[in-house]
Symmetry: C2
Subunit: 136 residues, 2 copies
DNA sequence: TATTACCCTACTAATTTAATAGAGTTTTCA
DNA sequence: TGAAAACTCTATTAAATTAGTAGGGTAATA
């Protein structure tokens, strides 16, 4: 399942990408329009800022804004930051690789074989979608 | 993440599919060979039996066996039984559809748009793989 | 008829997720 | 300059899920 964190993060990014100009948008506005708990959204936006997707401006008239144009923001990067590994098992993960305790040999493991294909197909989708592609 | 239940279930099915004949295999044998907690595996095999993938035989010389040939067992069905929905959000699920509380309109939802593609790509993989395809 | 092996229920520990609370800091505008 | 707006950060918690554990019960076979 997709975590709420990722879902809300994607919605917030899409909301920012849909803005006519690049003026900062307040957390409260995004939270209200997208039906997200404001406090929870705060922490999500904070992590998106720390990972270089968003910039923020404090004080009156402040808020969050995209640091890049929507077409420069790949879903691959967004998903990795919000959701973590794209692979469903660590042993087929490109960025979060780990061996399985129970598996003596990855090359003959059925699960490995299947999940490798699933990872590649998901990556295909994420690589072919930028933030621009998913806003209506 | 793939649950251990699914992982173990797949491994057990693959183990049974790799048997030279159709004789029942004991839980204890599968558990040992695949490094799975026997009690946990019991409950997984039970659910695979109840959903029509496995048959069982009690008493001495008993155990579990496949009810169909490996090439007749689609990963789509296996994944749905073991892992549940293939979609990452209920609003794009074919078999477990639910609306989102927060989302006013699926058609303009960015998350929906992206997750629809992810679901389709995953389904593609599962539909193109039978149990026979993933055993080494 | 004893043994083997499946069947079933209930409980629990650990982990993750999704918040919630509240205090603190920075910036801006009047 | 000062008050309000708005972001920043830490800590705590409630709920849900997962992964397993315990233990007894039941059916079938040699």
């Amino acid at each position: 399942m997709l975590s709420k964190k990722t879902k809300y993060g994607l919605k917030a990014l899409a909301y920012l990408a849909s803005q006519p100009d690049k003026k900062p948008v307040q957390i409260s506005e995004i939270a209200e329009k997208e039906n997200i708990s404001q406090k929870f959204l705060e922490s999500i936006l904070l992590s998106l800022r720390k990972t270089g997707f968003l910039g923020s401006k404090k004080g009156k008239g402040g808020g969050y804004y995209l640091l890049k144009t929507p077409e420069e923001i790949s879903m691959t990067d967004v998903m990795r930051v919000l959701e973590g590994p794209i692979a469903m098992v660590p042993c087929v993960s490109l960025n979060f690789y780990e061996t399985c305790d129970d598996c003596p040999d990855e090359n003959t493991c059925s699960v490995h074989k299947l999940m490798l294909q699933v990872r590649d197909s998901a990556l295909d989708v994420y690589r072919n979608n930028t933030l621009k592609d998913i806003i209506s």
